[in-house]
Symmetry: none
Subunit: 123 residues, 4 copies
Amino acid sequence: MIQLNYRDSRPIYEQVRDGLRQLLMSGAILPGEKLPSVRALASSLTINPNTIQRAYEALENEGYVYTQIGKGTFAAELSDVNLERRQELLVQFDQTASELLFLGTPAETLIQRLREMEEKRND
Amino acid sequence: MIQLNYRDSRPIYEQVRDGLRQLLMSGAILPGEKLPSVRALASSLTINPNTIQRAYEALENEGYVYTQIGKGTFAAELSDVNLERRQELLVQFDQTASELLFLGTPAETLIQRLREMEEKRND
Amino acid sequence: MIQLNYRDSRPIYEQVRDGLRQLLMSGAILPGEKLPSVRALASSLTINPNTIQRAYEALENEGYVYTQIGKGTFAAELSDVNLERRQELLVQFDQTASELLFLGTPAETLIQRLREMEEKRND
Amino acid sequence: MIQLNYRDSRPIYEQVRDGLRQLLMSGAILPGEKLPSVRALASSLTINPNTIQRAYEALENEGYVYTQIGKGTFAAELSDVNLERRQELLVQFDQTASELLFLGTPAETLIQRLREMEEKRND
DNA sequence: GTGGTCTAGACCACC
DNA sequence: GTGGTCTAGACCACT
């Protein structure tokens, strides 16, 4: 379900957070659906529950999930995702794209990639 | 020359690395040109030379600069920049863009941003 | 009657408690009037009766309602509301206001807000 | 320096966070000044460093402090405090004030309190 | 020496 | 059973 890479310099909770975000984006987990419990996911990834907890907390701050104490953690609606997160992504998009252009990547190459992603989403 | 932001959560050496990369990308430092010496830059930013050293090492690993022992550090040719770095950037581009699309950003918005960046580069 | 927000981090029983307090404050439930029975409210909100029970207990501790065994729960007179609750609110008022002032909010802004609330109450 | 109350239902890290915020607001810690190290404060309050860490993290999210890894945690400028925090406070102000008014507290009483706080700040 | 992350294990509040 | 908090103790990255 989620791939952890212990050689990666990114902390584990960030890898979990990003992996879950990916699952939410891919539609593998739909809005309103329950995410695995902290303990369940921890044992399935054989890491400590506290680490999962941090990942869930981070996703909640971004607006991707909400939690009901005593009930569980659930996928939120798209519209609930933070404006902050959106802005963060735009900044990152600009930085990445401008370096790619600088390194000689033709803008058309990037544009085509975007169009492909869009198509895939509409499948 | 380089703006350090101590409130930024990124470590100083990453800020220096990114700042220098920016200078290289903007054309402020041209291929073949000598970068300031480790000590000079350290004292001008009033930080530890070791921190500058780490930044230079990172840029060398990316292929943005090369070092001639006893001579100094110099800006490399574009074509020398690592394929790894290019790959890394493409992956990041895809991840960022797909999340933006997922969050409802129209592909056209991103494409327009790309076109604007390209124009700016050709000024 | 009461809006539950499952994305709110507050526990359900606090949301019920605050919602009822709001109804009492707005005059929707007048002193002496009977509140809905625990079971009725529970089924109307489709939550567990225990949760409603906790909310009613909390309001009784604050002095906002009183319970007659076998009869039901009733809205109390204003004068019966706990001094403790009043004290608690004053402390919170001071803390909140002083931080707002510290952050540069002009006292006049806060005073105007107070005057507007007062007017609304007298409608 | 900071008073912990183990009977309080608020978690310890929130009490630490609020206590520190108070110290920042009172001018006991000035912008740019270094806060005690995580370990130092932990041992002085005889609680776990992780708990202090959470408090510092929360204050950083609010914009009250910034941290330099390897250096320490420092008090930020007022202007860096989050808009979110400001809005949160306004909501709390309105809720508290309206309940106080409902309970019969004259608006003039609250206004006078505000004026006194303002005077104290200008000493 | 500083903050950041992680584990193991525990207890609590909520539903 | 679920998430939230806390402790004790450890290791790592950064300066």
